[in-house]
Symmetry: D3
């Protein structure tokens, strides 16, 4: 039966021992979004040009957060990230901003948590910058889309 | 018309000047959840007793993350938090774990971002600890529920 | 004779005891600049519109660095900053970008170091983002311009 | 034409992808100085023996800051530094203290920013420790002197 | 019966709510020591003058660690420390270096953990700097000596 | 004669240059304990089941502290830890809780400081969580037990 790898046989939390795992190039892609009122989305999209670049700030926050992952996620390994990239996809129809983070490393373990953390903190930063005009924004659907390079093979999330 | 307070008149990002705001006791409550397969939820709920306390680890991660908010959210103010509390609400029917964070401070500005950050990092920690058995978990619906103590009065989110 | 306040009578470094100092609103303004080739300055100024916002990134780095001052400057006090603002002044004649940081706090001690640190890190970030095209940029003339609100009265730097 | 490497083709900030770069031993040397009144310089130089070791504190601050570079410079990569060294060169004639940092790593990218950050923070620490006697000190001429080990070959700054 | 205050009625870890506690000036004094071979102690004591100031480095490490306490101790509150002081007491007879930390704050909760953390990290730093010559050093007897300023009154440890 | 490796020939602190050292798998084991009143020990041991898991919190604090070692110990190298494990050994006879940390890395330098730091912070966390009922607990006997994988060969502490 499936077991939680972050606990030892006594049920005690451990930083999983990756000493024996191979050093390979690994990549993870995560996504999420911030839902908001149409007026808030307008403000962000106009602002990009004139009044202040909400997404530019959120992008940096996400990149920096990826580097802080081992400080935030208790059992995460410190990793020498070799690439972090954030993309935003405004969607007027659904009145949301989609966020995607792509993280790479050449190391003994993967960067799913780094990609997910980058998305979460970028989304929270969008909230922070717009909360004075829209307290009801929702950060949602943060999930792993793809992962490759590790022993467990390639993972691709299937969505319809 | 509504304006984004985190930019000055030239559209430049600033840490909002709160020097003139009053020192009051402020509280914020945020919520979110992690959706997962029923088997993953079982594993977490059993594990609490025997195999490793996923929610205990996530709770600590959330509390510590609340303290790191000004490091993560670029324009957030550093604040001397006076209380941080995390609660988890497993829901077998919807196959998810609800997370609620309550944060208090006596200060010139509020703690919405601290509460939201605590929920997000607790949720990501649940993901981290269970990802070996369920890569498809989704962190979702992170939102502000209540906020009080500031000049803008009491906010209560209305949900149906 | 003048004494260095950060050492005790035995010459040992101490975090100066400010317990008895009054809580007042304090402000500090610091400045500095990054000298560069005219072509580099052009690239930054054009880029602002089209190719990437060097100064937007540097501004955020400066604001976030102000919050990290007590982690960087060994004997600095942790302070609940109430405002941080960064301004950039491109100067084509001298081929440099001037940087000014304004920091406020209501506390027992001042924020000179926070303002100076914000300028230094914003300047280093400009260097980082342009170093591929101009390794010879120089970060220079980081200095305190004004300081007010403390027991030692108002300081204004006189320059000609 | 020259391009800023820290932005992608849409002008969005990215942590540059170094996955494909070779792992080599890299070294960077940076310099800067703190100008001050002759009396302040005297106080520091005497203090070294008797009243408190300003340069000893600044040296440690610089070494520790080199390790914090990826937290400070938004798009810098986290790197496993293998050596950090700070040297001070008091100059009574020009009434300043010169600072030099030498940083090494065996990695996919260089350590210019680490060396420059070490110099800047060491200089700011000198300012902090002496500001009670000389508010007008100036941190200046922070620049890269040498860099080697990367694909772009050896760089040596030419000064006269 | 005595209860552990860091858990709520369900046994869940919380950052204790201090919102209602009074703001008072609080002080804590902690002590500990590093036992070592007599030759190691000699090396440290000579070094102070000539070969490198182990205790100067350890003092700074202790002061900086006091500021990092809320990052290290999961349920500790972030506090605006107003004073941190480290003293060392070499004892040739017992072949050890005693360490004492005194920390002050004006706040809603005390600074015992800050004083204890400062002693522990100063002691570990002594170990780090001397481990090449004496791996068998022992960090020991880290304890609270005094505490005052809080609702629970004055505490003074009685030792014989 | 023995020399302190963390100082150069002028007695200046340096981060030791490990560039030329080989990359090998290294392991360190450290131990320490927290002495307390029998009633406090009872409270912790009962609590594990019912009232709050002191040792679970301390375990996480220790694991996270191992990752923060280069931030705490001024001259420590940043290292990509591959495993951190904490074990607790309650001892009713001596009325103490023993703590052991095991840390691994594949790198140019060892992880003694990481293991010792994990033990110290786990011990301080036990103190923090129980201090309301027993201020007189003592953190003691933090020491290196074993070390292997480096050029200096295997070290095993001999105790009787």
């Amino acid at each position: 039966m499936a077991e939680l790898t972050h606990f030892d046989e006594k049920g005690q939390a451990v930083m999983v021992d990756v000493t024996e795992k191979g050093i390979t190039t690994r990549e993870a892609i995560a996504r999420g979004h911030v839902r908001m009122r149409p007026e808030t989305l307008d403000l962000i999209l106009e602002g990009r040009a004139k009044k202040g670049d909400v997404l530019g700030v959120a992008r940096l926050a996400g990149i920096m957060a990826a580097k802080k992952t081992p400080d935030l996620i208790p059992l995460a390994h410190p990793l020498p990230l070799s690439s972090v990239k954030l993309d935003f996809f405004p969607d007027r129809e659904q009145s949301l901003i989609g966020i995607q983070a792509t993280v790479k490393v050449t190391s003994r373990t993967g960067v799913e948590m780094e990609a997910l953390t980058a998305v979460a903190v970028a989304a929270l930063t969008v909230y922070d910058m717009c909360k004075a005009v829209d307290r009801e924004m929702v950060v949602s659907e943060i999930r792993l889309m793809e992962k490759s390079g590790g022993r467990s093979g390639v993972f691709k999330r299937i969505e319809d």
